[in-house]
Amino acid sequence: MAFEPKIIGFLCNWCSYTGADLAGVSRIKSAPNVRILRTMCSGRVDPAFVLKAFQLGADGVVVMGCHLGDCHYQEGNYKTIRRIPFLKRLVGQFGIDPRRLRLEWVSASEGDRFAEVVNEFTEEIRALGPLKLPVHAELRDQKHRVPETEDAVH
């Protein structure tokens, strides 16, 4: 079977998630590879989530937020734009191609842009091929992959 990338999309509730919704409502076709995870703000995306996503087998992660200056929470996306470049360097050190992590701005009215970003990113990840982290094999057999309580997160 051909390689189908698994991509996690962290979408902010107000712009990108609504934009994705609009893409759906407008019947705009986009790749089904991006699995969407809603957060209230792109600033909520803890770097640990991204690392966890890669650990759990994601081939790519895209974080989408409001355009700069449009943040529903005024400046949450400015926090994101500072975190993601650091994170890109970090994943590089873990042996993950930084191109597998992407930050995009999609506003609530940009359904077409959402589809465009998704399609483009999916194709890029498809070209990069599956992310083969050694940790994947171990995790595959593990029954409970996620710690049950908050305490165990760190």
Binding site: K6, I8, W14, C15, T18, R35, L37, T39, M40, C41, G43, R44, V45, D46, P47, A48, F49, K52, A53, L56, G57, A58, C66, G69, D70, C71, H72, Y73, Q74, E75, G76, K79, R83, S107, A108, S109, E110, R145, V146, P147, E148, T149, E150, V153, H154
Partner: protein, 586 residues
Amino acid sequence: MVTINIDGQHIEVVDDTTILKAAEKAGIWIPTMCHSDYFEPYGVCRLCSVEVVRGKRSRIVTACNYPVRGGMTVHTNSARVKWIRKLIMEFMVSRWPNVKVVREMAESLGIGAPRFVSLERDEAENACILCGMCVNMCNDVVKAGVLGFAHTGIERKVVLPFGQKTDRCIVCGACVKVCPTGHIRMVVEDFKGKRPEFTLGPKTAISVPSLQAVPRVPVIDPASCIHMKTGGCEICASVCEPKAINYTMQDEIQEIEVGQILVATGFDIFDATAMAQYGYGRLDNVLSALEFEMMLNSTGPTSGKVLLKNGTEPRSVGIIHCIGSRDQNHHAYCSRVCCMYALKFAHLVHDRTKAAIYQFYIDMRAFGKGYEEFYVRLLDEGITMIRGKAAEVIEGVWSDNGDPRLTVRCEDTLIGKFREIPVDLLILCNAMEPRRDADRVRKLFSISKSPDGFFLERHPKLDPTSTTTDGVYIAGCAQGPKDIPDSVAQASGAAARILSLISKGEVEIDPVRAMVQEEYCSGCRICNNLCPYGAIEFLEDKKLSHVNEALCKGCGTCVAACPSSAMTGQGFTDAQILAELDGLLV
């Protein structure tokens, strides 16, 4: 108070009133050509000469500047006065035979052809008659001090300082307004080809914005008010009986605390100069819809008459729809209101003139209640509907008297032919577009915009009046192009939403909030400065951070940043998101 006798009438007037004023009060007309109530009597035309008798002495004085004295007897029509008037008028007529005001004055005084021939004879109809009205206006009223007399005797003339162009002139036009012969004209130099936004706008610096204005009081336009420029004029204050005019009033900014806001900032109209093929701003008689609407207004510049720039009635009128809307180069959307107001224009033009009317439309969108019926009725009125967007408008000589007419070149898609339609007046139905400062307003309230640039509602069907920001509502054309009924409906809905919240007295807030798990908080204070709402405070006694739940909006920025995971986002806890991730990547 003194009592004087004018032509046998006893009149009681205030001391120091001029004879002219006293006569005016008694209803006696004294001819004058240089007098105005706005400035001090000048006494240059001498036409107001009257005979004053005091005791046994009688003398000729000018009524405009001669103050009354008790017991004075004035003759305004004695033989001596008539002889003087005749002489003055004959001098004037012989020098300026074709000036209308001079001729009319001579006629009304019953003075025929002059006995003299003037060597300074000036045949011009708009010759300067040296009345000095402009000079007095400029110096006494406007206080710009630009105009003045130079030379004496027959050489006398009105000049600018040193006879040269001057930037001291504030271009107020007061001299043009008072000039009785039309000798002074306003000329536009360095015309760059773009007209001011409203060529049919208010004529005066103080005006009521519109008859529907609330409150309906006049406002002063500081940019064109003479008083604001020179400190002079004050004519409006002098005629205002309740003394309501205040020149020192300043703009003030008030800060009002409110709980909810309805953003109904409306729209701007598309600037048709961007579509040069239609000649707006370049050709006369090409009007924007808003300008034509002002023309149709019965209190507007033409009192509701449909007129061309040269003051004549048009013989044919063209109306082009979709200027800037339904156009991939400008706005893709339909402005919704234009079809119906274009039909209204056609109806009113048909009503007020005999002009042939052509509508150039892409599609007729008569979507509202009673709209289709109106369209059908218009078809019966004999309006020519041409389906096809006009390609361009060119100037061509078509009329018998050589006046340039406009030619609209278009394709009539219903007969499949190119056509050239001659019109006198062309009306462009400009698109509605978002306000120029919409982005600034949007960021102020942190609301989104749709692709067309109008404000975005929370949900197009289920929540069309509120926005993603709690307590901020939108209505009318700020949300998208719509007509008056739709705007009213949406605004009513928004008002009801606002009132329901007021009457409820309490606000429901989302349960999505950040919370500090105190046992894990190290008191590092990283989160304190991250919060855009200042919702996180530091408890000095416990050395812990604390979230004020009423201020927190639940964005989770602090949760993501907390190095000890003490901050949790209700509904979006780390565990919940990780579980979601787990589920997504099975």
